[in-house]
């Protein structure tokens, strides 16, 4: 039933889209708007059908059988709908059409929507031909299901992928808007404003999604790491960087009518980046922790969709050849700073892209597989981001179109920053942290000065101020936690002391080992206390054994200590000994706080418009 209903909706959407495209829809409904709404609703429905299928555990559907278990809590059953490749593509389709419905409310230009439904139809075709989640299963239906991978049974898993997808797919609106602007040559401010609003919306979801994913990795994976430059992380970072550049570039386009082609191209490439990234990861071309099982047809289809998007971009750029080199602005104006901003962000996005696909090239050209990880990105990416952070301190205060007057304040701020950096280096002895202090200190000082001058300004100003400040805090926290963290493997043996010294001033105490039975797993937990002079911090890492697969996961336990955290996992447990992996992450809480502040500031900048 679920299977038939889902397939029906998919085919019916394709049918309606064809009707609309060919103009035959006019014979049924004279109103385009009504028909478009019909298309969007029909295309969005299959996903809801799948979700219902999961909720009622309809195991005649192969996908549902493969990804859930009869005793899973209902919450996880429902959210398993997007755990598999097929389900996630269906979620993509759902979101494209939801964006379509909402966009229809603010802009009912038929041509723009035609492009949206066309792209939607490409994904529907892709789904039907190579990854249909409604495929039936011919086996006996007294089944219990194969169970959702336990690593994915986590609250954050529920929110992280949909949030990211909301970000990726949200970029489709700037894409079709830019496409329309270039075709119609209608460079109206209103359209650019629309683009800005929808870009901010995607940016909100992208940032939030990336932060959630990072936090999920940190709290689930047991290594204290929060960013691994894994290909899937990189392909979420690239659209994010382009999206950030887009928003800043749009400000220039709207406020002083410059950099229009930059903004439009950024809009096109941001969406392409999102789709290309999806292809890269699902096709298994690049090996990563996030790899899905692959099937050759999947890659082919996505390649074709991306090729279509590139060809559109190519065509649009050929057509807009006459709109180049119309920008004129003074050398020390805000426009220049934002142009530099565009340049560095795009360079950073390309660097991450190159790093991610270089192993592919290396295999083809050098016939030797190269691995690219943190060492490379920490060099290349941080190098490109550093100038932006410094510029970010001063750019917001520079006026549009004017030549910035020479100012003593800048000189003093840099001087103070150098002094503080020197002090930090002297006290802590770490060059990387000192450098991070140097590039962010002007931002902190300037933020402080500006705040007191413009204290009750509009929400838009506050949003931008907060966003920039939180980036600064994030960088300081990130560099500090990576430079000063500490990892130790401690073994407690039966009969020996249950308190082991970590360093001068702290020791680890083993309190108890417990064994308990929960709904779909058995849990063995170790109770620990970190004892520091007068303070105690409790930790309780565990190993969970899941039904029906027998899969074992390591549950992380964390405890807060001011801005820092202690972090423990069980590395080995036997009848006569227990080994614990203890990690100390200083300033990690500041990292999460600043990320949330950033997301909040984007939220503020969206609502201030309405």
């Amino acid at each position: 039933m679920i299977s038939n209903l889902g397939n029906f909706f998919l085919f019916f959407s394709l049918f309606s889209i064809t009707l609309f495209y060919t103009g035959w829809s006019k014979k049924i409904f004279t109103s385009d708007k009504v028909f478009l709404n019909l298309i969007y609703v029909t295309s969005a429905s299959p996903f809801l059908v799948l979700v219902i299928g999961f909720a009622i555990s309809d195991y005649t559907v192969l996908n549902i059988f493969q990804n859930s278990y009869i005793d899973d809590p209902i919450f996880y059953k429902v959210t398993s709908a997007w755990g598999s490749h097929e389900g996630s593509i269906l979620l993509w389709i759902f979101l494209i059409n939801m964006y379509g419905i909402f966009f229809l409310k603010t802009n009912n230009n038929k041509e723009i929507h035609k492009q949206i439904i066309f792209i939607s139809s490409l994904f529907i075709l892709y789904l039907l031909i190579s990854s249909n989640p409604f495929q039936k299963i011919e086996l006996d239906t007294t089944l219990e299901g194969l169970g959702l991978n336990p690593i994915l049974q986590h609250l954050l898993f529920i929110i992280h992928p949909p949030t990211l997808f909301l970000g990726y797919i949200g970029l489709i609106i700037p894409f079709v808007l830019a496409s329309h602007i270039l075709i119609s040559k209608n460079f109206s401010k209103d359209l650019f404003n629309q683009m800005l609003l929808w870009s901010k919306l995607s940016w909100f979801f992208l940032t939030f999604g990336i932060v959630l994913g990072s936090y999920w990795a940190y709290s689930e994976l047991g290594w204290g790491g929060w960013w691994f430059w894994d290909p899937v992380e990189n392909i979420s970072l690239i659209p994010w960087l382009l999206n950030t550049a887009l928003i800043h570039s749009l400000q220039v386009s709207i406020k002083s009518n410059q950099l229009k082609l930059w903004s439009l191209n950024l809009a096109l490439y941001s969406f392409i980046a999102a789709v290309f990234g999806t292809f890269l990861v699902r096709s298994n071309l690049i090996v990563s922790v996030h790899s899905f099982a692959s099937d050759p047809l999947r890659g082919l289809f996505l390649i074709m969709i991306i090729a279509y998007l590139f060809i559109v971009t190519l065509r649009l750029n050929i057509k807009s050849v006459n709109y180049f080199n119309q920008d004129t602005f003074k050398i020390m104006s805000k426009e220049t700073f934002l142009l530099l901003n565009n340049i560095f962000f795009i360079a950073a996005a390309l660097t991450v892209l190159v790093g991610t696909i270089y192993p592919l090239f290396s295999e083809i050209i050098y016939n030797s597989s190269v691995s690219i990880g943190a060492p490379y990105y920490n060099f290349a990416f941080n190098l490109l981001m550093a100038p932006i952070i410094l510029l970010m301190a001063f750019a917001p205060q520079i006026k549009w179109g004017e030549h910035k007057k020479k100012n003593n304040q800048t000189f003093y701020i840099i001087a103070i920053s150098i002094v503080i950096t020197a002090i930090v280096y002297y006290l802590l002895g770490n060059i990387f942290f000192a450098l991070s202090v140097f590039i962010t200190m002007p931002l902190f000082i300037k933020s402080f000065l500006v705040f007191f001058k413009k204290i009750s300004k509009d929400r838009g100003f506050f949003a931008q101020w907060l966003a920039h400040l939180s980036i600064g805090l994030f960088i300081v926290a990130a560099v500090y936690t990576e430079q000063f963290d500490y990892e130790k493997n401690i073994t407690f043996e039966k009969g020996d002391s249950n308190e082991i010294v970590l360093n001068e001033g702290a020791s680890l105490l083993l309190e108890n080992i417990k064994d308990s039975d929960l709904s779909n797993h058995q849990k063995i937990s170790v109770d620990l206390i970190v004892v520091e002079k007068n303070l105690k911090y409790s930790l309780s890492p565990s190993k969970n054994i899941y039904q029906p697969s027998g899969q074992v996961t390591n549950e992380v336990s964390t405890v807060n200590r001011y801005f820092d955290q202690y972090y423990a996992t069980i590395s080995m447990i036997e009848s006569d000994k227990v080994s614990i992996n203890l990690v100390y992450k200083p300033f990690i809480n500041l990292l999460w706080i600043s990320s949330i502040l950033l997301v909040f500031s984007i939220f503020l900048s969206i609502i201030k418009r309405k």
């Binding site: 090729a307 060809i311 190519l314 090239f361």
Partner: protein, 160 residues
């Protein structure tokens, strides 16, 4: 004027490369002429308690890494027995194993090896072991072929 076309062209080019690579994924098992690391011959055979006699080995022999805790090793074991029955000499390297478990495993399943060496991981490291089971075919002191994972009949038919 043409500069804005540059990016989409590059993009399509990269896409084409990805597509090409995607449909032509060949397993890259390129192995330069590597010699067997000497550390293998510095260890004593477990049962005979003496170093491996390289004269006895001859020009062609096989090195097989195994462990009692490794299920695929058990699966390929009959093939090793068959190789032994054809007179092919195999050096078995027991990788990071508990001694009692290892002895039991050999006794229960049979010993296809001319020599057995117990390894705490250092020999595996020098050989470039990825995981057990792993089999190396040696001729004239040079590694001719390396098979990662359990052996299948096709892998050894030429030697039988």
């Amino acid at each position: 004027m043409k500069k804005n076309l540059f990016i989409p062209f590059i993009g399509l080019f990269i896409l084409a490369i990805c597509a090409f690579y995607y449909f032509n994924q060949a397993p890259s098992q390129k192995l330069e002429a590597k010699q067997v690391p000497p550390v293998l011959f510095e260890a004593k055979d477990f049962y005979k308690n003496e170093l491996i006699d390289t004269q006895n080995l001859g020009d062609f022999y096989i090195i097989n890494f195994f462990a009692s805790w490794c299920k695929p090793c058990l699966a390929e074991h009959p093939l090793l027995m068959e190789l032994q029955s054809k007179g092919i000499k195999i050096i078995g390297v027991n990788f990071r194993d508990d001694e009692d478990n290892f002895i039991d495993w050999i006794e229960e399943n049979g010993n296809p090896f001319e020599y057995i060496i117990r390894d705490d991981g250092s020999i595996a490291y020098e050989m470039g072991l990825i995981g057990v089971p792993e089999t190396y075919f040696i001729n004239n002191k040079i590694i001719q072929k390396k098979i990662q994972g359990p052996l299948f009949y096709e892998d050894i038919e030429t030697y039988l």
